[in-house]
């Protein structure tokens, strides 16, 4: 029973492991998160990836004339996974920051939107060190919003970090946090417009800060020329109107920002 079955299993496993490597050179693998981040990326009930970033990536790949395929990776390990060559580029609303530039290279930005605080309508919360004293703020781990709140409000607020933005949203609905700090578009489209978000509103004004980087860019491994190719493609589709077409499907304003 043992030997022939053992060798068969070994052979199957070896084949399965190595077939991933053959012929993988002419395809660009893009890494994104399986957790939904509407309207930028989300997974519908049929399992298909949708969203502004997915369509934008398709357009960029068409412009660069390469075949692209998506690889899913959870957010908190996405940069190590890039370095481990599980994929070749990250398109997951990752902002260009100095901290990240130490470990990866970025293309030019492909959108830039401000951040907002969101809280329950029933409470008046003033966005200032005095007004936020003692409050609990939920952020997604390893984001520009987490860095911002750690730098600006450490010791004033209790910070709760979540593996996904969606779980942070769930806890705001449950009342475990008083406020969320995240991207304005993600929170308005993804949360405030949903039925559960009806009891919540934006607190204060949308804002940007140097701590929060220069907008979202495509992350590639250090020294990879792919980053420059993406930058060229972004400029090209900005120029020939493809960007605008996709943009207008999702937003009433130009999300490229300034």
């Amino acid at each position: 029973m043992n030997r022939p079955i053992l060798s068969a299993c070994l052979a199957v496993m070896a084949l399965a492991g190595l077939t991933g490597s053959v012929g993988a050179q002419d395809v660009v693998r893009l890494g994104t998160t399986p957790e939904s981040y509407p309207p930028f990326t989300w997974v519908d009930a049929q399992g298909k990836l949708n969203g502004f970033e997915i369509e934008l990536a398709d357009a960029l790949c068409a412009q660069m004339q390469v075949k692209c395929e998506w690889v899913l990776q959870s957010w908190d390990g996405i940069i190590p996974a890039l370095q481990e060559k599980k994929f070749d580029a990250i398109i997951a609303s990752m902002s260009i920051t100095d901290e990240r530039k130490q470990v990866v290279d970025f293309s030019d930005k492909y959108y830039n939107s401000p951040a907002i605080f969101v809280g329950p309508k029933s409470e008046t919360i003033d966005i200032s060190p005095a007004g936020l004293q003692g409050k609990t703020v939920g952020v997604q781990v390893s984001t520009i919003h987490a860095s911002y709140i750690e730098a600006k409000y450490k010791g004033i607020v209790t910070i709760k970090t979540y593996d996904t933005q969606e779980n942070a949203n769930l806890d705001l609905i449950a009342g475990r946090v008083d406020l969320l700090l995240a991207d304005s578009v993600a929170l308005t489209d993804g949360f405030l417009k949903s039925p559960e978000g009806a009891d919540f509103e934006i607190k204060g004004q949308p804002f940007t800060d140097p701590l929060m980087g220069l907008g979202a860019g495509v992350a590639v491994r250090k020294g990879d020329p792919l980053g420059a190719k993406f930058s060229a493609a972004i400029q090209a589709i900005r120029a020939n109107g493809v960007y605008k077409t996709i943009n207008d499907k999702y937003f009433t304003f130009d999300i490229y920002g300034n």
């Binding site: 299993c9 490597s21 957790e35 390990g77 370095q83 481990e84 559960e196």
Partner: protein, 237 residues
């Protein structure tokens, strides 16, 4: 109740297809990891029983570390760090070949690594439980060591190993739920997406629990059948 059926079904708004696909991935990962674990277990048991001193030390270190460190930590370490080391190792042995280890293979490697340590202990205990008289008889017939192992020791050891191997399978099946933490779209991962999108976590996690429970019950039943088949010819002690 109709809403529930629509949500879990296979229609346009139904997440049933997604959950089923996720369940398939879970089973694939669990089976592959279990097989890898069995292989590592046999190697580990051999290292601990018949190997030279450095091999025995390696085997002991392997089992001690896995038994003392949480499974999720080992999985994260192997998944995010180990594949690089593995590629370097393969690069040493077969230079010039770049092996891309995709997410599935990395997950199987990490879970298999963990279950291999448990399997080592199972096989070691089972091999030690074979009556020494059998080994003496085999030696007295001048059977070469490999024949002795595969034809005399292992079949008898399997009888002792099977209950524990059944246990190990259930452990691997449940541990495969941890793989969702790295982002693989297994059963729990698909359910988490569905739960977040529909804002109904209890519903979807309850369904996941039910599916796992069913798989566990079926597995236990199958293993009991196997135990009965293997125990044929032996009186119940």
């Amino acid at each position: 109740m109709e809403d529930l059926a629509a949500l879990l079904g296979f229609g346009e708004k139904g997440w049933g297809g997604q959950l089923l696909a996720g369940a398939l991935v879970t089973v694939e990962i669990a089976v592959a990891s279990y097989l890898v674990g069995l292989l590592l277990g046999l190697l580990g048991a051999w290292a601990k029983l018949a190997g030279a001193r450095p091999l025995r030390a390696l085997g002991n270190a392997y089992t001690t570390i896995i038994r003392g460190v949480p499974d999720i930590l080992i999985i994260l370490l192997v998944y995010y760090g180990g594949t690089g080391a593995l590629r370097a190792l393969i690069g040493l042995v077969v230079p010039g070949v770049t092996v891309e280890i995709d997410a599935f293979a990395a997950a199987v490697a990490s879970l298999g690594f963990v279950s291999g340590a448990y399997a080592t202990e199972v096989f070691r205990g089972a091999i030690l439980a074979v009556p020494p008289g059998q080994i003496e008889a085999a030696k007295s017939l001048a059977l070469p060591p490999r024949v002795m192992f595969f034809r005399v020791v292992l079949p008898q050891a399997m009888r002792f190993a099977l209950p524990a191997l059944g246990n190990l399978w259930v452990v691997v099946l449940k541990d495969s739920a941890l793989i969702s933490v790295v982002g693989i779209r297994d059963l729990l991962g698909s359910a988490a997406t569905a739960a977040a999108t529909t804002r109904m976590p209890f519903t979807f996690y309850a369904v996941v629990a039910l599916i796992f429970l069913l798989m566990t019950i079926v597995s236990v039943g199958l293993f009991q059948l196997a135990e009965r088949a293997y125990g044929r010819g032996y009186r119940r002690s």
